[in-house]
Protein backbone atom coordinates (compact mmCIF):
# COMPACT_ATOMS: atom_id res chain seq x y z
CA UNK A 1 0.00 0.00 0.00
CA UNK A 2 2.69 2.39 0.99
CA UNK A 3 4.55 1.37 -2.15
CA UNK A 4 1.73 2.35 -4.49
CA UNK A 5 1.27 5.62 -2.61
CA UNK A 6 4.96 6.37 -3.07
CA UNK A 7 4.69 5.76 -6.78
CA UNK A 8 1.77 8.18 -7.12
CA UNK A 9 3.66 10.75 -5.10
CA UNK A 10 6.79 10.17 -7.15
CA UNK A 11 4.89 10.87 -10.32
CA UNK A 12 3.78 14.12 -8.79
CA UNK A 13 7.29 15.12 -7.75
CA UNK A 14 8.77 14.36 -11.14
CA UNK A 15 6.07 16.37 -12.90
CA UNK A 16 7.34 19.31 -14.94
CA UNK A 17 7.92 22.46 -12.98
CA UNK A 18 4.78 24.47 -12.53
CA UNK A 19 3.08 26.80 -10.12
CA UNK A 20 1.01 23.82 -9.08
CA UNK A 21 4.00 21.94 -7.68
CA UNK A 22 5.23 25.12 -6.01
CA UNK A 23 1.92 25.76 -4.29
CA UNK A 24 1.58 22.09 -3.38
CA UNK A 25 5.05 22.03 -1.81
CA UNK A 26 4.59 25.17 0.19
CA UNK A 27 1.16 24.24 1.44
CA UNK A 28 2.07 20.66 2.22
CA UNK A 29 2.31 19.07 5.62
CA UNK A 30 5.64 19.01 7.52
CA UNK A 31 8.11 19.67 4.71
CA UNK A 32 8.11 22.51 2.21
CA UNK A 33 11.52 21.63 0.75
CA UNK A 34 11.05 18.12 -0.52
CA UNK A 35 13.98 16.21 -2.00
CA UNK A 36 16.30 18.34 0.11
CA UNK A 37 17.87 17.10 3.36
CA UNK A 38 17.29 19.50 6.25
CA UNK A 39 20.98 20.34 6.57
CA UNK A 40 21.12 21.46 2.98
CA UNK A 41 17.94 23.54 3.29
CA UNK A 42 19.35 25.22 6.40
CA UNK A 43 22.63 25.92 4.61
CA UNK A 44 20.69 27.58 1.79
CA UNK A 45 18.80 29.73 4.28
CA UNK A 46 22.05 30.68 6.00
CA UNK A 47 23.55 31.59 2.63
CA UNK A 48 20.51 33.74 1.89
CA UNK A 49 21.11 35.68 5.10
CA UNK A 50 24.81 35.93 4.26
CA UNK A 51 23.82 37.34 0.87
CA UNK A 52 22.14 40.21 2.65
CA UNK A 53 25.20 40.84 4.82
CA UNK A 54 27.52 41.05 1.83
CA UNK A 55 24.94 43.16 0.00
CA UNK A 56 25.01 45.64 2.87
CA UNK A 57 28.81 45.85 2.60
CA UNK A 58 28.73 46.36 -1.16
CA UNK A 59 25.87 48.85 -0.87
CA UNK A 60 27.68 50.93 1.73
CA UNK A 61 30.73 50.86 -0.54
CA UNK A 62 28.53 52.08 -3.41
CA UNK A 63 27.10 54.82 -1.22
CA UNK A 64 30.44 56.20 -0.01
CA UNK A 65 31.93 55.99 -3.49
CA UNK A 66 29.01 57.85 -5.06
CA UNK A 67 28.80 60.52 -2.40
CA UNK A 68 32.47 61.46 -1.97
CA UNK A 69 33.83 64.65 -3.49
CA UNK A 70 37.35 63.21 -3.65
CA UNK A 71 38.81 61.20 -6.49
CA UNK A 72 38.30 57.43 -5.96
CA UNK A 73 41.66 55.59 -6.17
CA UNK A 74 41.94 53.59 -9.40
CA UNK A 75 41.94 49.89 -8.37
CA UNK A 76 43.61 48.97 -11.63
CA UNK A 77 46.71 50.91 -10.51
CA UNK A 78 46.43 50.27 -6.77
CA UNK A 79 46.43 46.49 -7.27
CA UNK A 80 49.01 46.42 -10.06
CA UNK A 81 52.16 44.37 -9.56
CA UNK A 82 55.60 45.22 -10.91
CA UNK A 83 56.60 42.10 -12.84
CA UNK A 84 59.30 41.85 -15.48
CA UNK A 85 60.04 45.56 -15.55
CA UNK A 86 56.49 46.81 -16.03
CA UNK A 87 53.29 47.26 -14.08
CA UNK A 88 50.64 44.69 -14.89
CA UNK A 89 47.24 46.01 -13.82
CA UNK A 90 45.19 44.05 -11.30
CA UNK A 91 47.24 40.90 -11.90
CA UNK A 92 47.21 39.66 -8.30
CA UNK A 93 43.43 39.93 -8.15
CA UNK A 94 43.11 38.09 -11.46
CA UNK A 95 45.26 35.23 -10.15
CA UNK A 96 43.21 35.14 -6.93
CA UNK A 97 40.05 34.90 -9.04
CA UNK A 98 41.43 31.96 -11.00
CA UNK A 99 42.57 30.22 -7.82
CA UNK A 100 39.10 30.53 -6.30
CA UNK A 101 37.38 29.33 -9.47
CA UNK A 102 39.71 26.34 -9.60
CA UNK A 103 38.78 25.54 -6.02
CA UNK A 104 35.10 25.74 -6.91
CA UNK A 105 35.68 23.21 -9.69
CA UNK A 106 37.48 20.74 -7.42
CA UNK A 107 34.70 21.18 -4.85
CA UNK A 108 31.99 20.42 -7.42
CA UNK A 109 33.83 17.23 -8.35
CA UNK A 110 34.23 16.31 -4.67
CA UNK A 111 30.44 16.52 -4.25
CA UNK A 112 29.94 14.34 -7.31
CA UNK A 113 32.35 11.65 -6.07
CA UNK A 114 30.86 11.95 -2.60
CA UNK A 115 27.47 10.87 -3.88
CA UNK A 116 29.20 8.00 -5.72
CA UNK A 117 30.64 7.06 -2.29
CA UNK A 118 34.18 7.19 -3.69
CA UNK A 119 35.63 8.38 -0.42
CA UNK A 120 39.30 8.64 -1.43
CA UNK A 121 38.62 10.78 -4.49
CA UNK A 122 36.20 12.91 -2.47
CA UNK A 123 38.66 13.49 0.37
CA UNK A 124 41.56 14.27 -1.97
CA UNK A 125 39.46 16.74 -3.97
CA UNK A 126 38.28 18.40 -0.75
CA UNK A 127 41.85 18.74 0.52
CA UNK A 128 42.83 20.18 -2.86
CA UNK A 129 39.96 22.67 -2.51
CA UNK A 130 41.16 23.60 0.96
CA UNK A 131 44.71 24.09 -0.31
CA UNK A 132 43.52 26.38 -3.09
CA UNK A 133 41.45 28.27 -0.52
CA UNK A 134 44.49 28.64 1.74
CA UNK A 135 46.47 29.91 -1.28
CA UNK A 136 43.77 32.49 -1.85
CA UNK A 137 43.90 33.68 1.76
CA UNK A 138 47.71 33.87 1.65
CA UNK A 139 47.54 36.03 -1.46
CA UNK A 140 45.02 38.22 0.28
CA UNK A 141 47.36 38.54 3.27
CA UNK A 142 50.12 39.57 0.84
CA UNK A 143 47.80 42.14 -0.72
CA UNK A 144 46.84 43.59 2.68
CA UNK A 145 50.49 43.78 3.72
CA UNK A 146 51.40 45.56 0.50
CA UNK A 147 48.59 48.09 0.84
CA UNK A 148 49.22 48.75 4.52
CA UNK A 149 52.93 49.36 3.76
CA UNK A 150 51.88 51.80 1.06
CA UNK A 151 49.89 53.74 3.63
CA UNK A 152 46.32 52.53 3.19
CA UNK A 153 44.35 52.87 6.41
CA UNK A 154 40.63 52.61 7.14
CA UNK A 155 40.62 56.40 7.56
CA UNK A 156 42.81 57.41 4.62
CA UNK A 157 45.21 56.58 1.82
CA UNK A 158 47.72 58.41 -0.36
CA UNK A 159 45.63 58.35 -3.55
CA UNK A 160 42.26 59.93 -2.84
CA UNK A 161 38.96 59.30 -1.12
CA UNK A 162 39.61 58.10 2.47
CA UNK A 163 36.60 55.76 2.29
CA UNK A 164 38.58 53.51 -0.06
CA UNK A 165 40.48 51.97 2.83
CA UNK A 166 37.51 51.24 5.06
CA UNK A 167 35.55 49.69 2.17
CA UNK A 168 38.53 47.62 1.11
CA UNK A 169 39.35 46.25 4.56
CA UNK A 170 35.74 45.54 5.49
CA UNK A 171 34.73 43.83 2.25
CA UNK A 172 37.84 41.78 1.56
CA UNK A 173 38.36 41.11 5.27
CA UNK A 174 34.88 39.71 5.70
CA UNK A 175 35.24 37.63 2.55
CA UNK A 176 38.67 36.37 3.62
CA UNK A 177 37.18 35.34 6.97
CA UNK A 178 34.56 33.33 5.10
CA UNK A 179 37.25 31.62 3.02
CA UNK A 180 39.25 30.79 6.17
CA UNK A 181 36.22 29.28 7.89
CA UNK A 182 35.52 27.33 4.70
CA UNK A 183 39.06 25.92 4.66
CA UNK A 184 38.71 24.73 8.27
CA UNK A 185 35.28 23.25 7.54
CA UNK A 186 36.64 21.48 4.43
CA UNK A 187 39.54 19.92 6.33
CA UNK A 188 37.22 18.63 9.08
CA UNK A 189 34.79 17.06 6.60
CA UNK A 190 37.58 15.70 4.37
CA UNK A 191 39.04 13.91 7.39
CA UNK A 192 35.68 12.31 8.13
CA UNK A 193 35.27 11.28 4.49
CA UNK A 194 38.77 9.78 4.36
CA UNK A 195 38.15 7.85 7.60
CA UNK A 196 34.94 6.46 6.13
CA UNK A 197 32.62 7.99 8.72
CA UNK A 198 29.79 8.24 6.22
CA UNK A 199 30.15 4.65 5.06
CA UNK A 200 30.02 3.11 8.55
CA UNK A 201 27.55 5.78 9.77
CA UNK A 202 29.83 6.76 12.62
CA UNK A 203 28.20 9.18 15.01
CA UNK A 204 29.44 12.75 14.97
CA UNK A 205 31.55 14.00 17.89
CA UNK A 206 29.48 17.13 18.24
CA UNK A 207 25.99 16.13 17.19
CA UNK A 208 25.94 12.38 18.00
CA UNK A 209 24.10 11.95 14.71
CA UNK A 210 25.03 9.66 11.87
CA UNK A 211 26.66 11.60 9.09
CA UNK A 212 25.82 11.16 5.43
CA UNK A 213 27.59 12.12 2.25
CA UNK A 214 25.13 15.02 1.94
CA UNK A 215 27.39 17.00 4.26
CA UNK A 216 29.87 17.12 1.37
CA UNK A 217 27.26 18.88 -0.76
CA UNK A 218 26.35 21.21 2.11
CA UNK A 219 30.02 22.11 2.58
CA UNK A 220 30.19 22.54 -1.18
CA UNK A 221 27.28 24.98 -1.12
CA UNK A 222 29.12 27.14 1.40
CA UNK A 223 32.31 27.00 -0.65
CA UNK A 224 30.59 27.87 -3.93
CA UNK A 225 28.90 30.75 -2.15
CA UNK A 226 32.29 32.12 -1.12
CA UNK A 227 33.31 31.98 -4.79
CA UNK A 228 30.01 33.59 -5.75
CA UNK A 229 30.57 36.51 -3.40
CA UNK A 230 34.04 36.97 -4.87
CA UNK A 231 32.46 37.27 -8.35
CA UNK A 232 30.52 40.29 -7.09
CA UNK A 233 33.45 41.78 -5.16
CA UNK A 234 35.69 41.37 -8.21
CA UNK A 235 33.14 43.10 -10.43
CA UNK A 236 32.12 45.95 -8.14
CA UNK A 237 35.19 46.70 -6.07
CA UNK A 238 38.11 45.82 -8.34
CA UNK A 239 36.81 46.29 -11.88
CA UNK A 240 34.22 49.09 -11.57
Amino acid sequence: MSHSAAVVEDKATHAPRSWNTLVRDWSSDQRAFKNVPWGKAMMWIFLLSDTFIFSCFLLSYMTVRMSTLDHWPNPSEVFALHIGGRDIPLILIAIMTFVLISSSGTMALAVKYGYQKDRHKTAILMILTAMLGATFVSMQAFEWTKLIREGVRPWGNPWGAPQFGSSFFMITGFHGTHVTIGVIFLIIIARKVWRGDFDIERKGFFTSRKGRYEIVETTGLYWHFVDLVWVFIFAFFYLW
Binding site: W26, S55, A108, V231, A235
Partner: protein, 117 residues
Protein backbone atom coordinates in the same frame (compact mmCIF):
# COMPACT_ATOMS: atom_id res chain seq x y z
CA UNK B 1 -0.42 9.02 5.59
CA UNK B 2 2.27 10.58 7.76
CA UNK B 3 4.02 7.24 7.72
CA UNK B 4 4.01 7.15 3.94
CA UNK B 5 5.30 10.70 3.75
CA UNK B 6 8.22 10.07 6.07
CA UNK B 7 9.11 6.91 4.22
CA UNK B 8 8.92 8.82 1.00
CA UNK B 9 11.15 11.56 2.37
CA UNK B 10 13.76 9.04 3.45
CA UNK B 11 13.67 7.34 0.10
CA UNK B 12 14.41 10.60 -1.60
CA UNK B 13 17.29 11.45 0.69
CA UNK B 14 19.08 8.33 -0.44
CA UNK B 15 19.82 9.59 -3.94
CA UNK B 16 21.45 12.98 -4.08
CA UNK B 17 22.47 15.20 -6.92
CA UNK B 18 24.03 12.92 -9.54
CA UNK B 19 25.19 14.53 -12.74
CA UNK B 20 27.68 13.57 -15.44
CA UNK B 21 31.29 14.66 -15.01
CA UNK B 22 31.26 16.45 -18.36
CA UNK B 23 28.87 19.17 -17.26
CA UNK B 24 31.09 20.16 -14.32
CA UNK B 25 34.22 20.32 -16.46
CA UNK B 26 32.37 22.26 -19.14
CA UNK B 27 31.09 24.86 -16.63
CA UNK B 28 34.51 25.03 -14.99
CA UNK B 29 36.09 25.89 -18.33
CA UNK B 30 33.38 28.42 -19.07
CA UNK B 31 34.01 30.15 -15.72
CA UNK B 32 37.71 30.44 -16.58
CA UNK B 33 36.90 31.96 -19.97
CA UNK B 34 34.41 34.43 -18.47
CA UNK B 35 36.90 35.45 -15.75
CA UNK B 36 39.53 36.04 -18.41
CA UNK B 37 37.08 38.21 -20.32
CA UNK B 38 36.27 40.29 -17.26
CA UNK B 39 39.98 40.73 -16.55
CA UNK B 40 40.55 41.80 -20.16
CA UNK B 41 37.92 44.53 -19.70
CA UNK B 42 40.33 46.11 -17.24
CA UNK B 43 43.48 45.20 -19.15
CA UNK B 44 42.35 46.99 -22.30
CA UNK B 45 41.18 50.02 -20.29
CA UNK B 46 37.65 49.96 -21.63
CA UNK B 47 35.63 52.73 -20.02
CA UNK B 48 32.20 54.26 -19.72
CA UNK B 49 29.01 52.43 -20.51
CA UNK B 50 30.78 49.66 -22.42
CA UNK B 51 32.98 48.83 -19.42
CA UNK B 52 30.11 48.79 -16.94
CA UNK B 53 27.81 46.72 -19.12
CA UNK B 54 30.53 44.15 -19.87
CA UNK B 55 31.48 43.89 -16.18
CA UNK B 56 27.82 43.31 -15.25
CA UNK B 57 27.28 40.85 -18.10
CA UNK B 58 30.25 38.65 -17.18
CA UNK B 59 29.40 38.92 -13.47
CA UNK B 60 25.80 37.77 -14.00
CA UNK B 61 26.84 34.94 -16.31
CA UNK B 62 29.44 33.67 -13.82
CA UNK B 63 27.09 33.97 -10.86
CA UNK B 64 24.35 32.21 -12.79
CA UNK B 65 26.58 29.29 -13.78
CA UNK B 66 27.87 28.84 -10.23
CA UNK B 67 24.39 28.88 -8.68
CA UNK B 68 22.69 26.82 -11.40
CA UNK B 69 25.24 24.05 -11.91
CA UNK B 70 27.83 24.01 -9.12
CA UNK B 71 25.21 24.65 -6.44
CA UNK B 72 22.72 22.40 -8.30
CA UNK B 73 19.95 25.00 -8.24
CA UNK B 74 18.95 24.07 -11.82
CA UNK B 75 17.86 20.64 -10.56
CA UNK B 76 16.08 21.74 -7.39
CA UNK B 77 12.33 22.05 -7.00
CA UNK B 78 10.61 25.39 -7.51
CA UNK B 79 9.79 25.63 -3.79
CA UNK B 80 13.49 25.97 -2.92
CA UNK B 81 14.44 27.99 -6.01
CA UNK B 82 11.86 30.68 -5.29
CA UNK B 83 12.51 30.73 -1.54
CA UNK B 84 16.22 31.40 -2.09
CA UNK B 85 16.43 33.39 -5.32
CA UNK B 86 13.47 35.77 -5.01
CA UNK B 87 14.38 37.60 -1.75
CA UNK B 88 17.79 38.87 -3.03
CA UNK B 89 15.96 40.63 -5.88
CA UNK B 90 14.65 43.06 -3.26
CA UNK B 91 18.23 44.26 -2.81
CA UNK B 92 17.69 46.18 -6.05
CA UNK B 93 15.16 48.35 -4.19
CA UNK B 94 17.85 49.02 -1.58
CA UNK B 95 20.28 49.92 -4.39
CA UNK B 96 17.77 52.42 -5.78
CA UNK B 97 17.22 53.97 -2.33
CA UNK B 98 20.93 54.31 -1.62
CA UNK B 99 21.57 55.78 -5.06
CA UNK B 100 19.06 58.54 -4.32
CA UNK B 101 20.54 59.02 -0.87
CA UNK B 102 24.14 59.25 -2.05
CA UNK B 103 23.22 61.64 -4.87
CA UNK B 104 21.64 63.85 -2.24
CA UNK B 105 24.71 63.60 0.03
CA UNK B 106 26.96 64.43 -2.91
CA UNK B 107 24.87 67.47 -3.77
CA UNK B 108 24.89 68.67 -0.16
CA UNK B 109 28.64 68.18 0.16
CA UNK B 110 29.25 70.00 -3.08
CA UNK B 111 27.12 72.88 -1.89
CA UNK B 112 28.85 73.26 1.47
CA UNK B 113 32.41 72.02 0.88
CA UNK B 114 32.69 72.23 -2.89
CA UNK B 115 34.43 75.61 -3.08
CA UNK B 116 37.48 74.42 -1.20
CA UNK B 117 38.34 71.88 -3.89
Amino acid sequence: MAHVESQHAQGQQAHGQQHPLGIYLWIWGLLFVLSTFSYLVDYFHLHGLLRWSLILLFMILKAGLIVAVFMHMAWERLALIYAILVPPVLILVFVALMTLESDYTFLTRETFFGFGH
